[in-house]
Subunit: 244 residues, 2 copies
């Protein structure tokens, strides 16, 4: 139950095991509670592979499962205002999708694979049953759902009242920290998304994002070559992101 056969052509961001997965703390109490039938197998765990550019689910769809990113990158889009969708969040390896749908059950976002991605799929009812048996698990749920709403708030403070270079610096540090916390090297990584997606996410234009990358490289804070990014001076980069 650890690794899956890989069919990747290009270098894909690291594959993560269950320990680094956001659901681990939910699974764990369940597994402790009763070893046999609450194993991952018993929960009808599935793995799926989504090709880059393909839609996972749409706004309005009834979503009945959690999704955990194992590799790749999924973007969540809000279609309510702009025609081609505004990026709300990039879900990175080890992170979760669709949590906020499980109250209303129907999704308010469209999710699209930024690149070929591998996901774990866990039916909601399996977990919900787990929650009714263990208040510990139920509490963990509430915590996770509450935390899932935090991404939007973080993005809000990342872009509101901040100028372009601050946003881009903050974005890089954010991605770096999230990769690091999942056990992936955060100093040097590959951005799965293109400049347009980043610009859309940060409320900028791709040209501006590009200029900021160039400027940060000129200051020797980062190194960029297309999608590959290397963070050379993260304390200084943080200062830039905080306008300090």
């Amino acid at each position: 139950m650890r690794d899956v056969a890989s069919t990747d052509r290009n270098a894909v961001p690291a594959r993560t095991g269950c320990e680094s997965c956001g659901l681990w703390r939910v699974c764990f109490p369940g597994l402790v509670a009763s070893a046999a039938e609450q194993r991952l197998n018993g929960m009808r765990l599935r793995r799926i592979r989504v090709p880059g550019g393909k839609t996972l689910y749409r706004s309005g769809d009834r979503v009945e499962s959690f999704y955990m990113i194992r590799s790749g990158c999924i973007k969540e889009l809000d279609d309510s205002h702009s025609r081609d969708g505004a990026v709300i969040n990039f879900a990175l390896p080890g992170e979760m999708l669709s949590l906020q749908c499980l109250g209303p059950a129907v999704s308010n976002t469209r999710t699209v694979a930024v690149e070929a991605s591998s996901l774990c799929v866990v039916p909601w009812d399996a977990f919900s049953e787990l929650g009714t048996r263990s208040p510990q698990v139920a509490a963990e749920f509430v915590r996770l759902i509450a935390r899932s709403g935090l991404a939007a708030r973080e993005l809000l403070t990342l872009i509101r009242d901040r100028e372009a270079i601050e946003r881009v610096s903050g974005f890089l540090l954010n991605v770096s920290a999230r990769l690091q916390s999942r056990g992936v090297r955060g100093r040097e990584f590959r951005l799965a998304m293109n400049r347009d997606d980043i610009a859309n996410y940060l409320g900028l234009r791709s040209e501006t994002v590009s200029r900021c990358f160039t400027e940060l490289a000129r200051r020797n804070l980062i190194r960029v070559r297309a999608k590959r990014v290397q963070i050379l001076n993260s304390p200084e980069l943080r200062k830039v992101s905080l306008n300090a």
Copy 2:
């Protein structure tokens, strides 16, 4: 259990009853389930009054209760980046506070009364107990918590990639709709917050907010005099807010 003695000097936005309160759908199943001890009285419901400018709770505080706004206006501030706090949300009459804290229990926002406000205070444990007894109530909880994260997302789409006049128009429509949905007249109302708070919320400067008000008034879409706002042409105002 309906009205409280009023000590307001100036005209304060309408006081709302339990029916228009965001918690009603949570209370209701509980009340149905067992009439006697789960009444509002049984839940140790308290009413408090917060003077304008006073802090309700701070970031880092352990929050053990829900708060429901009965009258007035409470702003939620994020202190993580700016010195004097960035406005995340304005809680209007009939709306709730501190829901997202009840997973982590410790608040990540500071809440300050924009004007003298009256609140209902309900201890979390009373509800949590209610939830363990009724899965219906528990589900309603999850729904409410998931929805509480939506405010940040809405604000995000309100300001990202939108110019000043679009933000201001969207803000007015948003406030209008929220007042209306709580049974208050939404065509003509009084903004509790000053220009600085609005500007902070929208990621603008107070001068810009002022200019936008003036411009919208010039186009005969609204009428403004200090804090009093009248919406004259909401379809057209919507067009402006959507950049259409």
